[in-house]
Symmetry: C2
Subunit: 120 residues, 2 copies
Amino acid sequence: MKKTEELIQSAGQAGSGACDSFHATIEFIGKRWMGIIIYHLLDGPKRYHELAAEIDGISDRLLTERLKELEAHGFAVKRAVPAGRKVEYELTDKGYAFEPVIRSILTWVKQNGSCTKDRT
Amino acid sequence: MKKTEELIQSAGQAGSGACDSFHATIEFIGKRWMGIIIYHLLDGPKRYHELAAEIDGISDRLLTERLKELEAHGFAVKRAVPAGRKVEYELTDKGYAFEPVIRSILTWVKQNGSCTKDRT
DNA sequence: AAACAAGCTTACTAATAGTAAGGTTTATTC
DNA sequence: GAATAAACCTTACTATTAGTAAGCTTGTTT
């Protein structure tokens, strides 16, 4: 049995169906800034401008876009904060369930160092 | 202490340095097709055309580009297969160390279903 | 009431990805 | 042994996505 098949088996699914879900998922969370946004939301609910301040280099345009996508895919909910026209974003259970993924990446970084940003 | 700080602590690093490495790493592996290529290479060494055949939808151009990036960042090595002008790509230890990340994503998929590809 | 901040949106440019074709070297087939 | 095909790229071009900068609206502060 191939290693990839074992991985899929251990994840409890068989065949290309699992692979497709995996593909869709990894491409979704691989979108630029997505992982970092999820990472920061693991802290708990945050306001738009908090995220904007914490995530160095992200633009309003993409932060808004990514937050909308997180909402649309059920990773996060947007909530109006009472008293004021402020909003807050919070991960859903589905979103919080991503913590092990983030954690495993942090572990990898610890053991293997970073990826530099330079292109070949 | 914030959750993100705890995550960083548990990964054995402190401050924004760890966050930057994390950022660089997640953006690198988040590039389109990168995760899927790594996933397929977890099987062991593979030829170019094997990857091309297994990864549905990828083009020669991007497969070549991603493989070069994996090489340049020390995730994989390219080897000439003796007898023939064939090449083979194999993950390095650094690359194989990514298995837990892939595994955690598969676990997430099992528990939470896929992300559909449709945009909002 | 003037000025400022939050949370977007819009318009435009730059970078990245997708598509299709072709090129070169090796293997295969007639 | 010439023709064909397959492996492994490369190039040129289009389409999609990201980055930059400005502005707009509602609400808050002074």
